[in-house]
Amino acid sequence: MIADFRHRRAGLVGLAFLVLTAVAALAAPLFISAEDLSAVFAPGVPRQAPSGHFLLGTDAYGRSMVAVTIWGARISLTVGLLATLLAVGIGALVGVAAGHFGGWVDTVLMRVTDWFLVLPVLVLATALASVLTPGVGTVVIAIGVTAWPTAARVVRAQTLSVESRPYIERAKALGGGHWHVMRRHILPNVMPLMLAQATLTVSAAILTEATLAFLGLSDPTKVSWGTTLQLARAVGAVSAGDWWILLPPGAAIIAVALAFTLVGRALEQVLNPRLQERM
């Protein structure tokens, strides 16, 4: 599987970029101080164009856009990964249960899934984020409970296919209960699919996080790509043509979402031979 992945150049490029971003985000506290990000004690003059000192200029508070963009990766990645964990977790639970038990359990769970699937994600997430207390945790929950239906559908389909294999009958014959069959036999077989699904969900989650933050539904005191863009809009950077405030977070959002999608698609192709043939 790893050997197969190595042949997918797009996936490798995406992976390399993600590793780079993750390292920068993790190491950020080493070279960005609290003062660099402070709205009051900012090091520069507000809305300064790129110069030798501030490579990407400064934002509305006079903070370096380089520092703000790198720091923003921390929130975006954290929210993206946590929300994905939540979404794929719920999806796996619902999908495996529906596929394994079948009958009315399946019917009920899938109708609920369908209901969430047709709801406009952004509207639901906006509603949730505005009802709950604002903060990173709220954004994670809002994205998590809206992004799981796709994962549930995919996992259920794979569960149904695994469920018909003879080793499932064997597991039942040797006295294994539902929990045993699901944990020991179905889960290991749907795991790779969940991994591919997860990487695709991350990019959607990062986009949703940025959107919610831009709409002012996240914690405004935390520096993220979404809040940076929101601040830029609030001070009129768009009409003033201060492109250096808009471009870095926007490009970062696109690049990270694209990287996750590339990795996810590559994983999907490695795991699903039928997609490989079409390449």
Binding site: P166, Y167, R170, A171, K172, L174, G175, R184
Partner: protein, 326 residues
């Protein structure tokens, strides 16, 4: 009471959109402790349904009536918890097609340990691993093979793993459902000999299912021939094979050439036609349409199992005619 397995008037019928399909129709069988019973018949005669019924493994669409007594306890009335405890601990199954009965993404050692860990919650992982090593040794595999994945083993080795798994909880009964399908002849003989040795050594009763009468005659004490969901003939294995009383038993026995028998050298005799569709059984004896001995009386009513010599029974009204034909 000392029968390990007793089937009393067992009926199984599957509910389908087109109406019920009776697959097992009134089977009575008894397997004493340490006994080896062979169950023969063509595909679709109800053998595997019968095997599945023993551990209540049939799908929800199956209607089961009659009694299935495992060591005197009715499987049908067991609670779910009791049933789970009985599965594998009292009776285990060697499934056909070992490739598909092993989970491809888990090591075989873990899979052999599975029943041990399921049935004995207190057992430690190292104790289970030791037991797995012993089991592998008993089936003629080196203990290091526990770390292998199913695709790294040959067909014969995989079936050995399945046998090790069947022995894991020291059951009283092993049901071997066509244990050698998809194996080549040499490996078949090895696997069958292994099963024979192990059940003898551990005093385990064996219910072996196969379409190969010769194999069953060699490895079992008694032999039951099934046709269209009913027992056509039952008796001591060697006698049934050498001198079947039911025309169907004869046809099955003649389907395989016999060493030292000049007549069978000219080629094994087949049987024309297919077994009847269980949803549309013919009037009278189900075998009559394919039977060379069939007469008017055969189509009148379904014949019951009746004594046909010392310790033997057959469900044929023309037993005497068949016998005279030699």
């Amino acid at each position: 009471m000392n029968d390990v397995l007793r089937l009393e008037n067992l009926y199984v019928s599957y509910k389908t959109a087109a109406g019920p399909v009776p697959t097992v129709r009134g089977v009575n069988l008894a397997l004493p402790a340490g006994g080896r019973l062979g169950l023969a018949g063509e595909s679709g005669c109800g053998k595997s349904t019968l095997a599945g019924a023993v551990l209540r493994l049939l799908p929800k669409s199956a209607d089961v009536s009659g009694r299935i007594l495992l060591d005197g306890e009715d499987v049908q009335t067991m609670t779910w918890g009791r049933l789970r405890a009985v599965r594998w601990a009292e009776a285990s199954i060697v499934f056909q097609g070992a490739m598909h009965s092993l989970n491809p993404v888990r090591r075989v050692g873990d899979q052999i340990a599975e029943p041990i860990l399921v049935h004995d919650r207190g057992v430690s992982r190292t104790a289970a691993d030791r037991r797995v090593a012993t089991l592998l040794d008993q089936v003629g595999l080196v203990a290091a093979r526990a770390a292998a994945y199913p695709h790294e083993l040959s067909g014969g080795q995989r079936q050995r793993v399945m046998i090790a798994m069947a022995l894991a909880c020291s059951p009283q009964l092993i049901v071997a459902d066509e244990p050698t399908t998809a194996l080549d002849v040499m490996i078949q003989a090895q696997i069958l000999r292994l099963i024979g040795e192990l059940v003898a050594e551990h005093g385990i009763s064996l219910l072996m299912i196969s379409h190969d009468l010769a194999v069953l005659a060699e490895h079992c004490d008694r032999l039951a021939v099934m046709y269209a969901g009913r027992i056509a003939e039952e008796g001591p294995a060697g006698e049934v094979f050498a001198d079947a009383r039911h025309p169907y038993g004869r046809a099955l026995a003649e389907a395989f050439p016999r060493i030292g028998d000049a007549a069978s050298r000219r080629g094994p005799r087949g049987l024309p036609g297919d077994p009847p569709d269980p949803a549309h059984l013919p009037e009278g004896c189900a075998f009559a349409p394919r039977c060379t001995f069939a007469a008017e009386e055969c189509r009148a009513a379904e014949p019951a199992l009746a004594a046909a010599g010392e310790g033997r029974t057959a469900a044929c009204v023309r037993v005497d005619v068949v016998r005279e034909a030699g």
